[in-house]
């Protein structure tokens, strides 16, 4: 009697949560799969009474679509560069922070600061910093628009200024700016996790290694890194997942055009592709791309778990 009453009560407590999840989480999962496997599905056309045959045409189209391959390339490149770089830098900073006492807390605070920023807002600061000294669109009779501190510094040291993000800039220059911004943005979370991991490593391991007369680099690679394994795996997995969903940081720097003025959408990502398909009422295509994104994230997570499980010895 009491038990069945509790059963009933539990469902009442869960009711608001479950109702919202049913509408905004479960139904979307079902519907996305449905839309993805209806050839050329469009919500607008369905409302007009059109029917669609079942098939994988959406997936085929997405994969063959040049824009999608460009998005995939940009996303992959950003992931493959920023995740190792930010993880390695974060590891260095964490180890350095962990080895000092004086000023440790204030430095820790400084390194966490970028975490609480608005990625669009600070993206605009980076855009201003990487601006060109000169005209914006390359047209004649245009006033000199602005000066960017990065180019100022380069010119101060006798280099030639680089067109980082403006009209006529190269893909390489654009990506360099994005990598710097994303790494800057990714550091605080990784440092937070890695430092707390380092602080929980038992000091006895280090004392034992010292007695054995192990060198510093040996201690680092044989003790610190393996014991930090789970944290490293965690920041790498979340880094890749975040990397594959990169979107707003690019909007922050380039605006909604996702690229320099002469080549909009050049830096578009997978997520950007999904929103573009959505904006043009091609829900079938958007769904297929979303499922592909999910597939990639799933595979990366599984590979990472596999690798880290093999490497981590307790």
């Amino acid at each position: 009697m009491v038990e069945s009453k509790q059963q009933w009560k539990a469902w009442v407590y869960l009711l608001p949560c479950l109702v919202l999840l049913a509408i905004f989480t479960v139904w979307p999962i079902i519907n996305t799969v449905r839309m993805a496997f209806l050839d050329g599905y469009s919500g607008l056309k369905e409302a007009g009474g059109e029917t669609f045959s079942i098939g994988v045409a959406n997936f085929v189209k997405v994969i063959q679509y040049k824009r999608f391959l460009q998005c995939l390339k940009t996303t992959m490149l950003l992931c493959l560069i920023t995740v190792p770089v930010s993880t390695f830098l974060a590891l260095l900073i964490s180890v350095a922070l962990n080895s000092i006492k004086f000023l440790q807390k204030p430095l820790q605070t400084i390194f966490f600061l970028p975490y609480v920023t608005n990625s669009i807002a600070i993206g605009m600061v980076f855009a201003a910093m990487f601006n060109i000294v000169g005209s914006f669109y390359g047209t004649e009779n245009e006033i000199v628009v602005t000066a960017g501190i990065v180019n100022n510094v380069i010119e101060f040291f006798g280099g030639t200024r680089v067109n980082w993000i403006n009209y006529g800039s190269t893909y390489f220059a654009n990506m360099t700016v994005m990598v710097i911004y994303i790494v800057w943005n990714a550091l605080p979370f990784k440092i937070l996790i890695l430092l707390s991991g380092l602080q929980s490593i038992n000091k006895q391991y280090y004392e034992a290694a010292k007695v054995d007369g192990s060198s510093k680099s040996r201690i680092f690679w044989r003790i610190t890194v393996p014991l930090l394994g789970p944290m490293l795996a965690y920041v790498i997995i979340t880094g890749f997942i975040g990397g594959f969903k990169e979107y707003t940081s690019i909007v922050g720097i380039f605006g909604a055009s996702m690229g320099p003025a002469h080549d909009a959408k050049r830096l578009n990502t997978m997520v950007g592709f999904i929103y573009d398909a959505l904006a043009t009422n091609q829900q079938g295509r958007a769904s297929a791309a979303a499922i592909i994104l999910f597939g990639i994230i799933l595979v990366v997570t599984l590979i990472n778990l596999r690798v880290s499980n093999k490497k981590v010895h307790y």
Binding site: F24, S119, I120, V125, A128, M129, I149, T248, A261, I291
Partner: protein, 295 residues
Amino acid sequence: MAEIKTMQEKDMNDVTSRQRVAKIIGKILIYLFLAVMAVIVLFPFYWMINSSLKSLDEYRLSMPTFWPRHILWTNYRDAFTTAQLGRLFLNTLYVGVVSTLLSLVITVLSAFAFARLEFKGKNVLFAGLLATMMIPGELFTITNYATVTTFGWINTYTVLIVPFLVSIFYIYLLRQNFLQIPDELYLAAKVDGTSDLKYLWTVMIPLSLPTLISITILKMMGAWNSYIWPQLVANDEAHRLITNGLRNAFKEASGDINYPVQMAAVALVSAPLFLVFVFLRKYIMKGVSRSGIKG
């Protein structure tokens, strides 16, 4: 014999003093590295404030000044009016507060059910919910956009609040916290005839206050930083949120941008986040770091 001994001692002293020098040099290098990295991390913030106080002419100097010659506070006033920050602040605050309050109620009730109550299929349901955390949000957005359009929610506050009220991550976080509260307290309360809701309110909520504060801050920051969904469903002037307003007010396409004013607007948008950071850093760090470690 005595000579040899002193020789050895001298060697030993040499080694230890050399070690000491190496150690000091190592320490200096460590501090140097950290200082350089700290400067890199802080530079964008400094440059934002520095630029926001300059006149446009001074900003465009080919030899930039590292502190404004004439501090121009009016940039902040201009930023406030150009980007209509007042309205945007109020919209964001409203959406943030309402969604945080409702979200807290839902999270507390659900976490309580999962932590304390027994019902059929509890573990399966909870595992299922956790599994949905793996799915990228974009996958939901496609359908949710259609759903909220059907509901007639486009360009309302509702559309900014309701779809994101449930966060499995927060439920998970709070459930972990609730599980640490000993069962005996609950059983004792039951014997005393305390109702579940009263127990929840008088015992469990006070005991898990730090987690609830973390959730509140993260949720508020979420409203402050959200961009994609508001851009899609509520980008009219009456309901626009701060991040969208900021990005839209200073489009690249509008040509000759007044960068100092833009930087002032960015600083104004960032200011509340900094205040939260200064005063509530502990809770943010706790919430963020617990997101994975305990799993």
